[in-house]
């Protein structure tokens, strides 16, 4: 048996700490506030999103987790009454800087929504649309490669390769969601935001998407909002707990689900909330 002395234990802890500090911060929220008209939805949220990791945002309904997620690619811009304060950076660059091209930002920070929402077009066109408008392919052959690679990365290629010209809406719910992920991947984003991507899916489709999330982590940084605590525990490396517009606690997922520091986190994940 391998007996760990206190010294080697200390070394292991130190190595772990160093590995953590070496992690690259892909996106950083700095005192982020959001108002919807008069109503304040987020209160000074400081949250780092680490590169090539899955960060899960959890909390009861109305806690601000989706609001925060939508700030990360400026989806809140589409809501007239929404005002965003504080600072959000992507690779240390302020994404709310007036010089930033929002369309380009959303190509770098892609999004997958709660309900699968494929365009009413063919499977091929669903994936090809983004690369085409962003001019990522010079010709049809290059576009074909992008479509195939994206569908492969989204673990949909085998099921879709013989029916690329059929409508995307004809796929099953789980397949549609993976198509939406393929569509997000097609424009080579750096960060993928997922807003409850599995809440409309059955357990098998959910498992496939979760497996996919784990694979995507190698190439992308992922932020996921989920109502399923088990899902957050399964797919993420970091978990952030929101409540009433405040960030309550953020930390390694393993710790958050076994021994969280804050009582509100404890009450929420153990099912003791109000």
């Amino acid at each position: 048996m391998n007996i760990m002395t206190e010294k080697s234990l200390d070394d292991a802890v130190n190595a772990e700490m160093n590995a953590r500090t070496n992690e690259i911060i892909k996106m950083r929220g700095d005192k982020v506030t959001v108002h919807y008209g008069e109503k304040q939805a987020l209160f000074g949220v400081d949250l780092d999103v680490r590169q090539n990791q899955v960060t899960a945002l959890i909390g009861p309904s109305g806690c601000g987790k989706s609001t925060f997620l939508r700030c990360l690619n400026r989806m809140n811009d589409t809501i007239d009454a929404a005002r965003v304060g504080g600072k959000i950076t992507l690779d240390s660059e302020d994404i709310y800087d007036p010089k930033i091209d929002v369309v380009e930002l959303r190509a770098r920070v892609g999004m997958v929504f709660q309900k699968p929402n494929p365009f009413p077009k063919s499977i091929y066109e669903n994936v090809a649309y983004g690369p085409r408008i962003h001019g990522l392919a010079k010709n049809k052959a290059e576009l074909d490669v992008i479509v195939e690679k994206s569908l492969q990365k989204a673990a949909l290629w085998n099921e879709a390769k013989d029916r690329l010209n059929e409508p995307g809406t004809g796929l099953s719910g789980g397949q549609q969601q993976r198509l939406c992920i393929a569509r997000a991947i097609a424009v080579s984003p750096e960060v993928i935001l997922m807003d409850e991507p599995c809440s409309a899916l059955d357990p098998i489709a959910t498992a496939k998407v979760e497996e996919l999330i784990d694979e995507l982590r190698e190439n992308y940084t992922i932020v996921i909002v989920t109502h399923s605590m088990q899902q957050a525990a399964r797919v993420s490396q970091r978990t952030a707990m929101f409540h009433l517009g405040y960030l309550v606690e953020e930390g390694p997922t393993d710790k958050m689900f076994t021994n969280p520091d804050d009582k509100r986190t404890q009450d929420y994940i153990t099912g003791r909330f109000g």
């Binding site: 007996i3 760990m4 002395t5 206190e6 234990l9 605590m229 088990q230 525990a233 689900f257 076994t258 021994n259 969280p260 404890q266 009450d267 994940i269 153990t270 099912g271 003791r272 909330f273 109000g274």
Partner: protein, 234 residues
């Protein structure tokens, strides 16, 4: 700690917790009974202890089933998860304490028939009282969720080890004095060893209970002073 939104979840957790308390109480009673039976050569009491072990085993099975079902149905998190997993592990140790008490009780007949030096029972009694205090203490501290107390109790195991070493030496001396003592002294040696093992199980329970209460593990190193493995007759 507040209540769960789903009340039956609370009831299931309480059931598991109650079983741990029951097993803790029973193990205390079994150890006390076995010791008294040994020191007073009380055969009837020894039989009771042996019979109690069946109840102990049934409780452990109930706890195992309840805990597994709870995990499958509720997917407990954080302190709830620790409480359930901790209960499974503590139940294993409590069940072993019951077995060891039963083993002491079974030896009552064999020891009673031999002319045991009377003063010998004195040092075994002292060791038994220490062990009994530990068994009762650990369950009480767990129920009261007292992390510091559990930490101290774990350290107290070394007092049992010291006492065990003393009993061991003493028994060797009696056996050398008069070979007619050997049968009884050997049985008593097993009894002392059983008590020492019970102390170790209490230590495990204390460590588990500490983890359940605090979410952190106690350090691995614990002072050990059982010297019987290196003791030779002087």
């Amino acid at each position: 700690m507040g209540e769960h939104t789903v009340r039956s979840f609370d009831e299931e957790l309480q059931h598991v917790d109650q079983l741990i308390r029951d097993m803790g109480d029973l193990s205390g009673a079994m150890v006390a009974g076995a010791i008294r039976a040994l020191l007073t050569s009380d055969q009837a009491l020894a039989q009771n202890v042996v019979a109690d072990d069946t109840i102990m085993d049934a409780k452990q099975r109930d706890l195992d089933n309840s805990a597994i079902t709870l995990i499958a149905k509720r997917q407990p998190m954080a302190q709830d998860l620790r409480a359930v997993v901790g209960a499974i592990r503590m139940a294993g140790d409590l069940e072993r304490i019951g077995d060891l008490a039963k083993n002491i009780a079974k030896r009552v007949g064999a020891v009673g028939q031999s002319p045991t030096p009377r003063n010998l029972s004195h040092s075994i009694d002292a060791m038994a009282q220490l062990v009994l205090g530990q068994v009762r203490g650990v369950v009480d501290l767990y129920v009261a969720r007292q992390a510091e107390g559990l930490k101290d109790l774990r350290a107290d195991d070394q007092k049992i080890d010291i006492q065990y070493t003393a009993v061991f030496r003493e028994l060797l001396t009696y056996m050398m004095e008069d070979p007619r003592n050997i049968t009884a002294c050997t049985h008593l040696l097993f009894c002392a060893k059983n008590l020492e093992r019970i102390g170790d199980h209490v230590t495990n329970i204390a460590e588990n209970a500490y983890f359940v209460v605090t979410g952190t593990q106690l350090p691995l190193n614990r002072p050990k002073v059982d010297e019987t493995t290196t003791t030779v007759p002087a």
